[in-house]
Amino acid sequence: MSPLKRVAYFFGLPIVLIVLWWALSFGSTNFFVPKPFELAQTLWTTWIGERFFEDVLPSLGRLAVGLLFAIGLGIVLGLLIGSTRWLRNLLEPMLEFFRAIPPPVLVPLLMLLIGVNDSMKVAVIISGAIWPVLLNTVEGVRAVDSVLNDSCRSYGIRGFARIRYFVLPAVTPQIMAGVRQSLSIGLILMVISEMFASSSGLGFTIVQFQRNFAIPEMWSGIVVLGLIGLGLALIFQFVERRVLHWYHGLKEITHDS
């Protein structure tokens, strides 16, 4: 695909939707319905400046730390549990149990345990975002190819080298699928962790706007969240293309034949 075409695909639908939105909201007097140009203006005045440093950046920082920990811990624990049979049998039912608990209900608990601070908010993000990566990694390790495994064994590739050159790359497709889910869960939990007992952050600010009937500002906050999600997706795509280029190449070839 040519770059021009790619840009057209990327911006095409959003532009159409904004035009449609503009047309439908034209002349509307409903206080709760935002209009495109006003919203863009509000977006600028509300979020660029002091708020950006006091609310947006700290939120992003907590999100980043939470996600990095969730992904790192998920991979390490997943490799460990996946490659130790007794550990896997022992832990698997419990992991499913913990995964089934909706993370927002942990917020009050973590508040009591950790207190109302950044650590608590990061902990909330980790507690929800770790599961897709962890469980996918466990599943992936279990399903590594038996012939490749035999190749490793016959060449004496064991221990850390086995993880580094064989297991980790083999499981990367599953890990990335887990990471994709973790990103959106992380974003949701970032907002939720700030809605309870907090005095700053994106989630807090949006709730604050809503309580004060600052409706355009509230909408603009939602747009900021959407943009963050988009940013995450783009970063993900960039990384995935680099890490899994072999996987996509392999898939393309097996689909062709």
């Binding site: 012939v147 490749l148 035999d150 190749s151 016959s154 060449y155 050159y165 190449g249 392999l250």
Partner: protein, 286 residues
């Protein structure tokens, strides 16, 4: 001269490179047991190239897995240069039947060949030289940066062979390595194996179900019965050491040997040689 006169009956003086004694493997499966290999005994002297033929399902892969220490046998022993094999030995390399699944798709051709050496902490310069030489010997020195999945089946199997060659094993086990490549490539690969064997002086056990291939390649052919498996025949191949696809295959002796192996395999398919026949043979050898 009849063919059976050439049946090997060599007294073993020195310690054989590879020694299989009374090997039996019973798989435990849900609702019972499958006896894949019943009782296999044979030796490989150092530097020998031996082919193992047997009908499909006769336990060839099972046998190789036991020899290479990847699987535990039910009874019997495998010895490598006099010491018992209990896990994958360092001085052995295996080329698997499923070439598509034995190379790492996330590594380049070069990376794949290099990995076992890297793992053995071979110094960088020596490693590079070994990998280059191995890739050259299989005729793949022009694609080191490609990924395995970008190559044809025959080329992938050559990468797997290069990896084994670069590793410099004492014993090389190959499990029907050419079963899934076209006839022309196969002929080339067969010649490649003989060249490598002569160059490296490595001991090779080559498993195949192709009778012509076994006679063309081997210095000796071991014929297995169908499952539960025993050694049906151990045949010396007295063809000239220099072999080539056109002339060797046209030799009358080649025809004789292949017909003989063919007849043995047909016999093997009818059923396993009973203990009685085995016993008779043992008596006859004395």
């Amino acid at each position: 001269m009849t063919v059976s006169d050439t049946t090997v009956n060599r007294p073993v003086k020195t310690v054989p490179m590879l020694s299989v004694r009374g090997l039996q493997k019973i798989y435990k499966v849900p609702g019972g047991e499958v006896e894949a290999v019943r009782d296999l005994t044979f030796d490989l002297a150092e530097g020998e190239l031996v082919c193992l033929v047997g009908p499909s399902g006769s336990g060839k892969t099972t046998l190789l897995k036991c020899i290479s220490g990847l699987m535990e046998q039910t009874s019997g022993t495998v010895e490598l240069a006099g010491s018992k094999v209990t896990g994958p030995p360092k001085s052995m390399a295996v080329v698997f039947q499923e070439y598509g699944r034995s190379l790492f798709p996330w590594m380049t051709v070069r990376g794949n060949v290099e990995l076992p050496l890297k793992n053995q902490k071979v110094p960088k310069a020596e490693r590079t030289a070994l990998v280059d030489a191995a890739l050259k010997s299989v005729g793949l020195d022009h694609v080191p940066k490609s990924y395995p999945w970008q190559l044809s089946g025959g080329m992938q199997q050559r990468v797997a062979i290069a990896r084994a060659v670069a590793y410099r094993p004492q014993v090389l086990l190959m499990d029907e390595p050419f079963a899934a490549v076209d006839a022309q490539t196969r002929a080339d690969l067969e010649d490649l194996i003989r060249t490598i064997w002569k160059q490296l002086g490595v001991t090779i056990l080559f498993v195949t179900h192709d009778i012509d291939e076994s006679v063309y390649l081997g210095e000796r052919v071991i014929v297995l019965s169908s499952s539960p498996t025993v050694v049906q025949e151990d045949l010396k191949i007295d063809l000239p050491a220099e072999r080539d696809q056109l002339n060797t295959r046209a030799l009358p002796r080649f025809m004789e040997l292949r017909s003989h192996v063919y007849a043995e395999i047909q016999r093997a398919k009818l059923g396993p040689v009973t203990e009685q026949i085995t016993a008779q043979r043992k008596a006859a050898r004395k």
